[in-house]
Subunit: 338 residues, 2 copies
Amino acid sequence: MYPRMNLWTDMKNRDEIGIALLGFGNVGSGTYEVIEENFTSIKEKVGVKIYVKKILVRDLNAGRRVKAPAELLTCNPEDIFKDPSVDIVAELLGGLEPATEYMIRALDSGKHVVSANKAALAANLPQLLDAVERSGRVLRYEAAVCGAIPVMDVIDRALAANKISGISGIVNGTTNYILTRMGEEAADYASVLADAQRLGFAEADPSGDVEGFDAANKLSLLIWQAFGKYIHPDKIARKGITELGLADIDAAALRGNKIKLIAQADDGPEGVEASVAPREVPADSFLGRCAGEYNAVQLDCDMAGPIFLMGKGAGPRPTGSAVVGDIISIARDMRSGV
Amino acid sequence: MYPRMNLWTDMKNRDEIGIALLGFGNVGSGTYEVIEENFTSIKEKVGVKIYVKKILVRDLNAGRRVKAPAELLTCNPEDIFKDPSVDIVAELLGGLEPATEYMIRALDSGKHVVSANKAALAANLPQLLDAVERSGRVLRYEAAVCGAIPVMDVIDRALAANKISGISGIVNGTTNYILTRMGEEAADYASVLADAQRLGFAEADPSGDVEGFDAANKLSLLIWQAFGKYIHPDKIARKGITELGLADIDAAALRGNKIKLIAQADDGPEGVEASVAPREVPADSFLGRCAGEYNAVQLDCDMAGPIFLMGKGAGPRPTGSAVVGDIISIARDMRSGV
C-alpha cells in the first residue's frame, strides 16, 4: 500500500507545483513532454500548474531525444535538494545507486518523490519507507509497474474495499515482444532478440528482462501494494525465457496455448507464493491475447471479482503519463491543503 | 470530471465515518455486505472505520437478501438528512425520482453523496453539479458505470495527465450476456431473454437494457468524466439489440466477428460524436473477447496510448465494491482534513 499523506500546513492552497527530474533519458524526456504538451489541459482539469524547475543530467552537452532549456539542466543533485521551488522530485535514473540515495536525500530534504525505478524500489523498499515515515513526505511509483497501466493507484484507491488474493500478469514488455514475434514469425529466440535490440525494444544487455529480474522487481512491488507484504525480489522464484525454443512454442500452440512470461502471486493461509516463469496460457484468454509490447494484469478481488487491466508497458510517453499521474495526485492533495 | 473537494474545517482528523444507504435491494445489500465483511481490512488499510448508521427502505417488514439490524431501517428519508452522525449518503435506489431529489437534499444537508444510479445521474447531472457547487460537498458515482471496473476514478486520477480522445466499451451486462449466449448456443433472442430473466440477469421489463437506454446513460457519464462535456442521454444515437437475429450473429461469425452492443464516443474538432449500437468487432479483439455479464472499456489516451479495463458489470458485491471504493475515497480525504 502507498503510505498515507500527513498534514501539510506549509503547502496550503498552492496552485503552482515545482518538479525536478532526476535523469533525462527515455522516461525523463517522456515525462518532460507530457508536462509541457498537456500543461494547459492539466491546469484546467486539476487546477494546478506544473513547472519543471531542474533536470539532473550526467553531461550538460549530451545529445538528447527531447530539447529542454539549458538553464534547467544541472549535474549537481544538491542544486535540486536545496531548491525551495522544487516540491516533487521525479527519480527516473534506473539502477540501484545513486537512485536510492537520491530518493532518500530528496525525502529528507522535504520533497515528495515519484519514481519509475522498479529495481531500486523493490530492492530498497524498507529503507525508502523509513525515509517516508521520517520525513512525512509521499513516495509514489505507478510508472515502476506496467508503464501506463494504472494498476498501483487502482489497488490503492478504487479497489480499497477488497481483499486481493491473487495477482497474475505480463509485466515485462521486452519478453512479451520477443515471445509474440517468435510465435507469429516462427523465428528463433536469438534472431528476434537481435532485431528487438536493433529496434530499441531490448537493451544491449538484455539479461534484466529475459532472465526475469525486471518482472520479479515489479511483482515485489505489486505484492506490497496488494497484500501489504514485502518480499525482496531475490526471494521470488524466477525463470527467464532464454531456454525457450520454437519447439516449445509450437507444442503449446498445438494445445491451443501461448507461452507468456507470467508474474504470479497468491496470498494464502500459508503466506505469499510468488513466481516469475514462462507458462502456457490459453491463446484466447486475457493474458494469452496480450501481445507485443503490451502489459496486462489480473487482480483477484473478494468483492469485485477479477479485474483486468491492459496497456502499454513501456515507452517514453506511456511511462511519462504514469509519472505525471502520480505528480498530479500529489499536487492535488497539496493544493487542497491536506 | 469529478468536482474537486473543498476545505472541510468541520471534519478534521475523523476516523469514524457514518454512512446511510438509500435503498436495500441488490446494490444496497451488496454495499452493506462489503462494509460489514471487510470492516477490519478497510480499517487497517485506510485507517477509517465505516459504520452504516441508517438504511432507507420502503417496507420495514419486507423479506431481504441480506439481514441488517432492525434499528438501522427507516422509511423516512428525513431521519437520514437530519442525522448528524451520517457523513455520506449512498443513493442506491435507481430511477429518476425520488433519487434525484434525495441526492440534492442530502448534499444541501451537508452530506457527501455516492450514487450507483446512472439514470438519475445522466439525466440530471447539471442540477446535481449545481447542488455540489452550492453545498461544497462531494458527489462520486463509480458504481454507476461498469459495476466493479474502476473506470471513473482511473479517468479522474491516474490518467489525469492525458487528453482522452475516444471511449469504446461494452457497458451493459444484460445485453452482453444475451448476445454471448445467442452466439454460443445458437439460441434465438426471445428464448435467451426469457432464460436471462429467470436467472436474474435481465429484468421483467428488459427495455432499459435491450433498447440501449442503460448504455446511453453510462456513456453520458463517461463522456462527462473523460471529455468534460455534458450530453443528455436522449441526445445520444441509440439502437438496441431487439432486432438482432441468429442470422446476423452467424453472418458476423463467418467474417470472424462478434456482435456486441458498443457504446462509443469520440471527442473531435467538430464536437463529441456518441452512439450506442450493435456493432461487429473482431472475435479475438479485446471487446470481442468480453463475454457473458462482463463489461469492458477502452480509453484512447494521447500519452498513455490505449488503456483497456475489464471486470464484472453488475451484481451486488461487484457494484458494492465500487460504492465502498467511493466511500473510502471520500473518507480518506475527510480523515486527512482536506
